[in-house]
Symmetry: D2
Subunit: 323 residues, 4 copies
């Protein structure tokens, strides 16, 4: 177990930096950068963190599916977390994905990253859970394991195969440490409305709801009542602007200009390769390397993304001047 | 069994209307229209067919997943097929989905619709098949069952859970009746390239490849070598134009203008409700009714689609003037 | 639709032969016999029915998974049902599986078989349903579709992937036409106890519960409170004796003697081939033919079953004298 | 990463104790014992190891699914492995399950346990892999990650959902470090025969094949050509006797006497609780505790197992005298 870690002095976790139900804004999901030989690229991790903060990120999320978490061993996961936390230096909350096949790994990692200064952890139900009671019980036990960390529930049934209804979320929200819902069911807009209705009716406390699902439905999610978005689109400036400024007609135009790339991102598996490729082209990370097993971006795919970036550059200056 | 059907004189199936490997263009997937009480709306079926033909459809596909095929009984499926075939009157090929849990139903329906004048049938592998050999053997047996109909292989692993590699497609293409591949793996672009490479290398005969997957990646699919597209987007005029005119910059602009609606279409389950709603608003079908079990379009969802249509109307005149 | 069928005079369906919550005993699941060329073997269907009745069957179940239902078209399903009903001649209740991908086929088949004299229908939840509410709603709608037929709920999550909890069953049992539960969850014994406890507490009406799952846990199921068993073991005499006489030590000995064969039966897919092989060896059906797609029994597998039958014959005379 | 471990002097891993293709006999799958509070019970781990060795185990397998491996964190997994290796003291090969969602954890754990003196590692394909090429490529990469450890391929498609055909195994066996196949497909007997035929035809080298699947089909597996069995039945003496002495009629009688308990073992999830309960009643481990999430054995279930043990004791003395 990883319990004997001491918290580094420089990346404190003051009480006001813990994840709360009032969290809002664009939480950027950060990939895990690697060197061409597959080793962790901690220099890129720090540079990426600083870049995302400059882009206006209201929070950072690491070690999710997009963060290739299962491909890291426990020491690597912690080393990467520390690099991000140090670069963040307490500026925004950092949420760390701790989903794992078993509770022991979940507890160990959670304890280690909270000691290192994380603001909360993210948990998705284990694939294969069936039946509302079993799902709720599993999540309640998982929440107990990561105590006293605040946590974010990831509702992504297309990946987990597990359905979580608004009524189940209301039950889970009896845990005061449930701070946030990462809402990425699809279709999922009416579900956001239903949860907000339960809150309004007093059937559950108000929690922070972040949209997700690649940002494909971010405009509608905001209208339904989300507090922000948590996704890893390689132009987080767009996410920040949409959440901050709201969906004016001009913002819809801007969203539409980005939609072809967002759509490309949403390809299962390949999306990670595309995000890393774009982040590398933007100079956010040094290398687009992903660890095996990972889909490779073919030359044809790269040319397609390059074409999308050129088109985007004509409509949004943040995409111009890529090297 | 349904073998004693006589072919209606007026919807002939001349040899040159059978589906071939040279098929190209936009094959429009037609929904099955219902009256508000859930009964078949054959008047809408006829009007829809005529409308799609006027839009430039190079073919029609009915009784697929989007056609609510499993919600029809055998007599209804045949009645709807006949209505479409009569309205089509031999103008374009009509492909009929015959996927079913068992071969007997597949064979019966295939025989009935081919006698009624269909041009070919569409088959997806049964969910649960595992192992390349088992998948290929199942598809070969399915093809034998629908003989002598030409057929289209639907490769939609996100729905079936069955992987079909280019090498497997090459083996299946040894059947001269395999006319067409409906390519909707995701990610799937490199797969199209790989199949075309196998053909160029003489490892398999050239077959017709239709893109699909809601049309989300139609521009890239065409560049990778598809012969057209087979999907049910409610503005088939766009699909027709993209396939006929190719992806100029202006066409990319037009595609982008439609992408928010195409994206909404791609929501599992809900997409059908959205397509029927838009087709009803366009006057193509009389009612947006879908048979249970089907997701309902909430008022909020309808308002969101209406907003997308208003935005679209400013950039593409085909969306203007909706009632 | 198949609504115009008239009920044959000779296989009546008097009110006292409808499936009720008081049903008990061994309901034998009958396979669908085929001739070597794959055509329906209706002569075997009749002979099999008479044989099962002589064995003491308290009911018959046809067109389940073991009945190769998805491999029959609608006319064949009805022809086979009629052959069984005629041979049964109203002696015991006959339950007909009507599970289908869509409600229309379910409704058509249900209406047709009830008109032909069936006692009730059996429904399993559609694979892919997720979330208690969605499962309950789907089953309630399915029940509405088959009205006014009494029905049996098949709870077989290893095949359907759908979890049904005791609380959900209590809600579904508000439908007075829910007569029976085919309990084949695994592990499932505590679930039987939980349902009986809900009944005892007045939380739901008492329903008939039949064990299943190949009969592997029949002794324990009876002790937990089932009213009988519904499975297709090729020696239904054993099932009849166990249910009627209870689990004495001698009956446990007899069960153990059969367990190696029951175990062989429980192999997914192959079990059907084994059951048909043994039934053919016993002279119950004329041919062991199964329709494609179906696992074949290799020579080695047949020899293994023959060996099990020889061993069984030494401990139970019903297995002796096989041709 | 866990690379800095030094090998303890006392649990050496001499070359002749590495897992080879000549491995045979009963490899006993050991559970991970816990104290009532959920902490590792290393005293039980040592006592269990000695007991299994006295029972005639030809090998030990730890940290498989039955070993609750995903519920241990990295340090616990290694501590338990060391306790078993020390008690084993080089007497028999010890195989360690290293299946994990990502290659990094697999590599770290493999390196650590091999340095600690394990004889080889066991790998199952990741759930969700689809397509023969993808499965073979993943396994080849996994094998590269655990180099230079010899490895055992676990083929358990009912759990993984991944099909592995004999032809695929032949390709994977080109890796000289593939020592063993844990054959637990179901039905799987013809597959064993097919692999042995490929070996006889020179299409692949001869590998060690261990039966599995709870031991339910051990008699038939041996006749098909397995070299032994790898399972966790709580009376390993039976497995040892069956493999060593072969399936005489008397051995079949003995197998039949155990079959009711083996059958109870095979209940998904609950089987672990039953095995631990019986091992605790036999005094092999001190407590039946399993870590959450784990099915609990109800009082009724315990009474059922007790009854099976009493019956077994009348036919096999190894089950008598349980405390």
């Amino acid at each position: 177990m990883l319990r004997r870690l001491t918290r580094p002095a420089r990346c404190g976790n003051p009480a006001d930096m813990l994840l709360t139900r009032k969290a809002s804004g664009a939480f950027v999901i950060a990939p895990t950068p690697f060197l061409p030989d597959g080793a962790l690229d901690l220099a890129s991790a720090r540079h990426m963190t600083e870049t995302f903060l400059r882009s206006g990120a209201a929070g950072l999320t690491i070690l999710g599916v997009m963060g290739e978490a299962p491909k890291l061993d426990a020491e690597e996961a912690l080393a990467f977390t520390r690099a991000v936390l140090e670069a963040n230096a307490g500026q925004v909350p950092v949420v760390v994905g701790v989903s794992a096949p078993g509770f022991a790994a979940m507890r160990s990692l959670s304890q280690a990253v909270m000691e290192a200064g994380a603001s909360g952890v993210m948990i998705a139900p284990a694939p294969g859970l069936r039946g509302d009671e079993a799902v709720v019980a599993w999540l309640q036990e998982a929440a107990a394991q990561v105590a006293p960390a605040p946590w974010c529930l990831q509702d992504f049934p297309l990946t987990t195969g597990v359905a979580i209804t608004p009524a189940m979320i209301a039950r889970i929200a009896a845990d005061p440490r449930l701070a946030m819902l990462k809402a990425e069911d699809c279709p999922g807009l009416d579900k956001i409305t239903a949860i907000r209705a339960l809150e309004a009716a007093g059937a559950m406390p108000r929690i922070s709801i972040m949209g997700g699902y690649y940002g494909l439905f971010l405009p509608e999610e905001l209208a339904r009542g989300t507090d922000g978005v948590m996704t890893g689109y390689a132009f987080p400036e767009l996410l920040v602007a949409m959440v901050r400024e709201g969906m004016t007609d001009a913002m819809w135009d801007r969203f539409e200009a980005h939609l072809p790339l967002i759509r490309a991102d949403s390809q299962p598996g390949l999306g990670l390769a595309i995000r890393k490729y774009v982040l590398a082209r933007r100079g956010v990370i040094a290398h687009a390397t992903a660890r095996a097993p990972a889909p490779k971006l073919s030359d044809a795919s790269r040319a397609e993304i390059d074409h999308l970036l050129r088109r985007l550059a004509r409509r949004d200056p943040i995409a111009s001047g890529l090297t």
